[in-house]
């Protein structure tokens, strides 16, 4: 049971067609991303805006139709584009460079939505302003028909509200009557309503005030202890992610460049991008701030429409060599469950 993964994602691709003049070119929001999540584990996903971390979360839940790859949840294949890969992770092609296609699998997601849920970033726009809290939390129960009587529905809703620390008297109120932190609690109660095994948390604390962030972060941790739910925790705040995650994956321009244990990643970052990302985080401690030697990256993230060849980070990387321009380095094992995609490190 220990080694069984709850979620296995391999070679996930999500391209969006973008019109440029007469041409339609693909915007590679997520390009060949693979990772696993164990039951009850938290995987943190960090990266700058536009690196595709939100898209990964949404594609996992099949809110988008994936362009390619394979998603296995709890032993069942939810999606398989049919592309086949050899043991080294190379796409198997026929003589003319076309991929050899296996069977395509694409299941109906409704039954699986009971096990996979999502908490959104903005607690102001992710709750319907015309519904009461009771109806917002009750909606997933309605959709999946999880109660036999009105009384049972109400009881379930009230117990959920209690779980997330909301006052049961507030059930008949509307979302605008709550503060940001309380709204985020409503969003979490809605996700928990169907008793999921896995929740995608898409920047759930970014919109909250500092003093409220800790309340919500603590609640996520308590719920995990109590219910054994696994999280994909997407955020750009590295300190928060490090605090809540067991493992962390770092994304840059649609690719995972490093994945490791949270403490290992912080103590021993290998990829030059992770290194500069960690050194860029302003530490709330004047002593460290005075001593720290920031690695300031030059330039901006390239447009995903004009992706550099080979490694996407090479345009801002000070270790870049010719090889980096030729070929994307594979995510290779450096021991201790630490994977890095870099030729030079």
């Amino acid at each position: 049971m220990e080694n069984k993964n709850l979620l296995e994602v391999s070679h996930l691709k999500q391209y969006f067609p973008v019109r440029q003049g007469f041409h339609r070119i693909p915007l590679k929001a997520v390009d060949d991303v693979s990772f696993t999540i164990k039951p009850g584990e938290t995987l943190g996903l960090v990266g700058e805006s536009g690196c595709g971390k939100t898209t990964v979360g949404r594609t996992l839940l099949r809110l988008y139709q994936p362009t390619g790859g394979r998603i296995v949840f709890d032993g069942e294949v939810l999606f398989d584009s049919g592309e086949q890969y050899d043991d080294n992770g190379k796409l198997i092609t026929d003589g003319e460079g076309r991929p050899v296609m296996g069977t395509r699998i694409d299941v109906d997601m409704l039954p699986y939505r009971k096990q996979m849920q999502m908490v959104f970033q903005d607690p102001y726009s992710s709750l319907n302003p015309r519904m009461t809290v009771e109806d917002i939390i009750g909606e997933p129960l309605d959709v999946h028909k999880l109660y036999s009587s009105k009384k049972e529905r109400r009881e379930k809703i009230l117990s959920l509200m209690e779980t997330v620390g909301l006052n049961a008297e507030h059930a008949m109120r509307y979302a605008h009557e709550f503060s940001g932190g309380q709204r985020q609690r409503i969003g979490i109660a809605r996700a928990l309503a169907v008793n999921p095994k896995f929740i995608v948390c898409d920047e759930p604390v970014s919109a909250l005030d500092v003093s409220i962030q800790a309340q919500v972060v603590n609640m996520f941790e308590e719920l995990q202890e109590k219910l054994g739910v696994a999280y994909l925790f997407i955020a750009h705040d590295l300190l928060v992610v490090h605090h809540i995650s067991d493992r962390i994956a770092v994304m840059y321009l649609g690719k995972v460049v490093e994945i490791a244990d949270a403490d290992e990643l912080n103590a021993n970052p290998m990829h030059p991008y992770t290194l500069s990302l960690l050194s860029a985080v302003p530490i709330p401690d004047p002593e460290t701030a005075r001593k720290s030697n920031r690695i300031v990256l030059e330039g901006d993230v390239p447009s995903p429409l004009r992706m550099p060849s080979g490694c996407p980070f090479r345009t801002r990387c000070r270790y870049a060599t010719e090889q980096c321009a030729m070929e994307m380095p594979p995510l290779s094992d450096r021991g201790n469950g630490h994977f890095t995609a870099c030729w030079n490190k």
Binding site: E48, S49, S179, G181, Q182, D209, V210, S211, I212, Q213, A214, Q215, V217, N218, E221, H236, L238, L239, V240, H242, H243, A262, D263, N266, S276, L277, S279, A280, V281, P282, I283, P284, D285, P286, E287, T288, A289, S292, R294, V296, L297, E298, D300, V301
Partner: protein, 335 residues
Amino acid sequence: MSEETKYILEVKDLHTSFFTDAGEVCAVNGISFTLEPGKTLGIVGESGSGKSVTAYSVMQILAETGKITGGEVLYKGEDITKWDKKQMQGFRGSKCSIIFQDPMTSLNPVFTVGSQLKEAILLHTDKNKREAYDRAVEMLTLVGVNEPESRMRQYPHELSGGMRQRVMIAMALACEPDILIADEPTTALDVTIQAQILELMKELQEKLGMAIIMVTHDLGVIASMCDEILVMYGGRVCERGTADDIFYRSAHEYTKGLLRSIPKNDNLNEKLIPIGGTPINLLQMPEGCAFCPRCEKAMKICLTQQPEELRVSETHLASCFMNVKELFAAGEGNA
């Protein structure tokens, strides 16, 4: 050195209110601070704590419903709240500039970067157009914009967020102000770009010697940038002191709570200790200490009386009755 010349800016007991349909909202309630030339003052607080309104009050760029209802803002010893519109126009831009949080909305989308930069220079100096253009290019180079001449012809939407913020900084510094107010200058930016902009601001401060007022909610940014820090809550100053005073010897329960509630390098595997309750509603200010309803250590006196600012050390002041009690306990014998 006389009092007038020591501080570039001195704010004394500033009160700013907004007159809304729901009643008068006291966004800033008796703020005082001083700023020395070439130093950086950080104002930190949650949303609604009045930190931005304090900055806007100094510049007198409040929304129509907002008004300074009391106090003085002294620039080199002169009270600028008594200045007329024309004098204030001369103050803004050439003596004190501001950069805003969102570089997308603070640049005009229908004018090129160059014309907006030139406008600022032409308005505040007696340079001619040619000189203004040269100055604009010089400023863009100074803030690290590559190919400044071609950037001058571009529109804001053609630039990335980090570039836009650089243009904003260039515009703010074009007339060599003595004071730069930065209102959450990096909140909308990614961490790696944030690091670039913060380094840039430090560099420019060394080069040009202006004083900076840094308004932010990010304690990390404050820790790395500021000489002196003002912690605000509910329109009042809770605590002020040097960075070390605030982070290592904090004497106000709100500051202590805030520092406990954020993940730092040394508490990553421990549980965070959040501040209970919700941020204050400025329409229903409590009679006593603003933080009292959320304070674990609140005493009876906190409910009814506002704590005075108390000197903890030479550089460190805090408005919390806890200190009074502790001082009582410590200094009882002497008294």
